[in-house]
């Protein structure tokens, strides 16, 4: 900035103004998107719970909080979220090391495999887990059926990949020389990790932990299927109060509780991040080296245990059972995917639903990467004014909120707000566009979290140096920020795509029968009696899993090509 002031001139000033306007627009467009498709619907629904006969009524707070059940539910929610997050992070860090810092044959395949759980429909995973853990199942002797432990295991199953990829993405490009220097100065590997690598990774770990916390706190399907009877979280309680009792007074109080918990978690994560966040020495290429069975034994053992025991076992069971037919084994379940199921369970065939899913996800990814990319870019700036930095921190957290708010609240909120929004003469609620938009709202936070740590890690002096050398702001962005952000952009696209492929909560309230997506038809198939429908649900889940793995492999490939270029 200082350098620019030495170069006055009318065209220059005009350009600076245009540049500033550009930044403002870059912040305003995503905010408008989030405001229209998230904040307004949620606020409108919550407001209904606080208005009785046209007057504000906050009595719901006293009623809900005086019920001991409420406190039990809040306690359960926090316990579940904290334990799920801690377990995912502790197990995920060794995984990030093995899968991103080390090189071994088949690595891309394993990386694809760990992503698969992330997008599987929760009801299928819940049923698959229960089939393993039920007293009559192969792991029944563990006595884990319908326990808190079963929920935590399932949470790790879903969220492991978030930690592995977010942390791995940064670790992979961390300059290894700092750690090597520490080692050559006599530090033990453990000490070098603790004092050099871990602090450098903290922003990414905090980033991943905050996402996982939000996912764990708002988990719905698996809590219902795997939880003990009477086990309730804020999320399941909001669902029951809204869809069963239509008690918006209680649901709104719980939504506020949910928002407070989520905001507090984000605040903590932000603190942890900003304390540690500083420019890191990143390499644009990958710094992975060959896996060393001796020195890497510990992380390798942990990773193998998680990948084989916790991920591959349920996935394998799902795969095997998808070939199970009434009179033995065969491909019937897969052949049936071209039909609408036994007794016409579906309104479209599973293949048609798969095509719907791909179309919807492509559009959702476009929205999510556009909006999330702008947010990450804006938030990665470091304004000199304290107020400016605060504003960016708030902006960052605000875009995380969709992960922490109940899909029921968002879905019902859409229904009461998006008929002819902004004076447009269109009922957006029944328009096909709302599904990809709703999925994008959920995918944006992931895009931001993947891009931001990398953009933030760029040394600001690089930008200053480029500017001093006469590069225009646009050129600085192009030559400094973009080369570093390009590889994770592929990852962000993959994550956004995978998220929309697997999104079920909001989609189930919005999808029209003729545009049902894969998770929606899987949910319907599993909700019908008959071995044929159950088998088809499993086969369709395998198709969804394969689609996801393919997308993530392609995204990996995309970044693989790029890394060599810069």
């Amino acid at each position: 900035m200082t350098t620019r002031r030495h170069l006055p001139g009318a065209p220059r000033a005009g350009r600076v103004l245009a540049w500033r306007t550009g930044w403002v627009l870059a912040a305003v467009v995503p905010l408008a998107f989030l405001g229209l498709f998230f904040a307004w619907p949620v606020a409108a629904l919550v407001a209904r719970g606080f208005v009785a006969d046209g007057a504000l009524d906050l009595g719901g707070f006293a009623d809900v909080f005086s019920d001991p059940r409420t406190w039990r539910i809040i306690g359960t929610t926090l316990g579940q979220a904290v334990v799920g997050t801690v377990a995912s992070v502790l197990l995920g860090i060794p995984g990030a090391y093995v899968l991103y810092r080390c090189d071994f044959p088949g690595r891309a395949l394993v990386r694809g495999l760990v992503t698969v759980p992330f997008v599987l429909p929760t009801v299928v995973v819940g049923v698959a887990f229960r089939a393993l853990l039920a007293t009559s199942g192969p792991l029944g002797f563990l006595g884990l059926d319908q326990t808190f432990t079963a929920i935590v295991l399932a949470l790790v199953f879903f969220n492991y990949t978030v930690v592995v990829r977010t942390v791995g993405g940064l670790w992979e490009r961390l300059d290894p020389r700092a750690e090597q220097a520490a080692r050559s100065l006599g530090a033990s590997p453990a000490r070098a990790f603790r004092t050099v690598t871990l602090p450098a990774l903290t922003p990414a770990i905090a980033s991943a932990a905050s996402i996982v916390f939000l996912f764990c706190a708002t988990a719905f399907g698996i809590v219902l299927v795997l939880g003990p009877l009477g086990y309730g979280t804020v999320e399941t309680e909001i669902y029951v109060q809204t869809t069963q009792f239509l008690d918006l007074r209680t649901a709104s109080v719980l939504s506020v509780v949910q928002l407070v918990v989520v905001a507090a978690a984000l605040l903590v994560a932000n603190r942890a991040r900003s304390r540690r966040e500083r420019a890191l020495h990143l390499t644009s290429g990958t710094s992975a080296r060959s896996l060393d069975l001796r020195t890497d034994a510990a992380p390798l053992a942990v990773t193998a245990a998680v990948v084989l025991g916790l991920l591959a076992l349920p996935l394998g069971t799902l795969l095997v059972r998808s070939f199970e037919v009434p009179d033995g084994w065969g491909l019937d379940n897969y052949r049936n995917l071209g039909t609408t199921g036994g007794a016409n369970a579906l309104s479209v065939t599973v293949w048609e639903a798969a095509a719907n899913s791909l179309r919807t996800a492509a559009l959702a990814t476009l929205f999510a990467v556009a909006v999330g990319g702008l947010v990450a870019l804006v938030v990665s700036r470091r304004p000199r004014a304290r107020a400016g930095r605060r504003a960016l921190a708030v902006l960052d957290s605000v875009f995380m909120l969709p992960l922490g708010v109940s899909a029921v609240t968002v879905g019902f909120g859409f229904l009461i707000t998006l008929d002819k929004p902004l004076g447009l003469d269109v009922d957006l609620r029944t328009s096909g566009l709302l599904v990809p938009i709703a999925q994008a709202v959920v995918a944006v936070p992931l895009v931001v979290r993947v891009l931001l740590p990398v953009l933030r890690a760029i040394d600001p002096r690089l930008r200053e140096a480029a500017a001093t050398l006469g590069a225009s702001p646009g050129r600085v962005l192009r030559t400094v920020d973009l080369p570093v952000a390009a590889p994770p952009l592929g990852l962000a696209i993959g994550f956004a795509f995978a998220t929309s492929l697997g999104e079920f909560g909001a989609t189930s309230f919005l999808a029209r029968p003729d545009t049902a997506t894969l998770p929606v038809v899987i949910y319907r198939l599993i909700g019908k009696p008959g071995a044929e429908n159950y088998g088809m649900a499993l086969a369709a889940s395998v198709v969804l899993a394969l689609l996801t793995a393919t997308v993530m492999l392609l995204a990996e490939r995309l970044r693989g090509d790029r890394t060599g270029e810069f």
Binding site: A134, T135, Q244, R478, G530, Y534
Partner: protein, 353 residues
Amino acid sequence: MRMHSTTRLAAVAGAATLALTLTACSSDDASDAASDGASDTVTLVTHDSFNVSPEVLEAFEAESGLTVEQVAPGDGGALVNQLVLTKDAPLGDVVFGVDNTFASRALDAGVFEPYTPEGLSDDAAGLVLGDGALTPIDMGDVCVNADTDWFAKHDLAVPTTLEDLAKPEYADLLVVTNPATSSPGLAFLVATVGAFGEDGWEDYWASLADNGVKVVDGWEDAYSVDFTTSGGDRPLVLSYSSSPAFTASDDGTTTSTTALLDTCFRQVEYAGVLAGAENPEGAQQLVDFLSSTAFQEDLPGQMYVYPVDPDAALPAEWEKFAPLAPAPFEVDPADISAHRDEWITAWTATVVG
């Protein structure tokens, strides 16, 4: 290589513009369609189990000149609650799929414009609700199902009544679903209220709980994990009277499960014209169609429910594997509406503790 990065930036920036443009474009399209053909389109709000044979629907569309659009925002309680919340700006013209355990909530909220098709059968006319606001379309029975093979193998008689389920010889054999999260669960709770009365049903559930009834949150969970036909350890499961048809042998002569017809509650699904419909005439025609013989006879094959019209022909195998209960337990929908929430709360206190 700078080429690449420039392209990438342009792509990202362009995508944002495109996103806004797309929204704008689609709004134009939709509003054109709405203004050109408001009277040609009729929107059916339903649950995602709605199915109709294409040729049956096309015949209606050809005859009436209407195009039927469907939206499926939820089912059971969620569908009704959405209707209540969107009362001032309804999602469509007609709703199909409101059932008798939730109907009164929607009736009380005034979301319907009364309309009853002419020429309903006496049976159907007897089920009309809310002074003609809701027309019955189909019905099905929620009943306990038994794995007959399991009972034969264990040399135990298949239970028949609700009272049997609480007997010691059937201890730890039954799995049901939570009425707070599952619509068959709610129906079964109502069945016990109908059977034992307002004063007796809680005692009955206490005896079931003592007898080791297992409760899970969703039907899919109960039927595909806990039921013995799926490898579970419970040979008695809460399901539908039509479920045994799904476990029929390939040659269609036998089935390995049976519905206990003395344990049932009848769910009736209704259709109604929504107040504030954009196309009220089209809506009435659509309700007429749902009550017509063509649609009624299409119901069993498409949605696996019974038509309310007793004259509609049924598939042959239905008598064999999917019979309706001769005398299901009944509770007045207004009573259900008035007490449903307190019943669920009391049930939770009794069974969950």
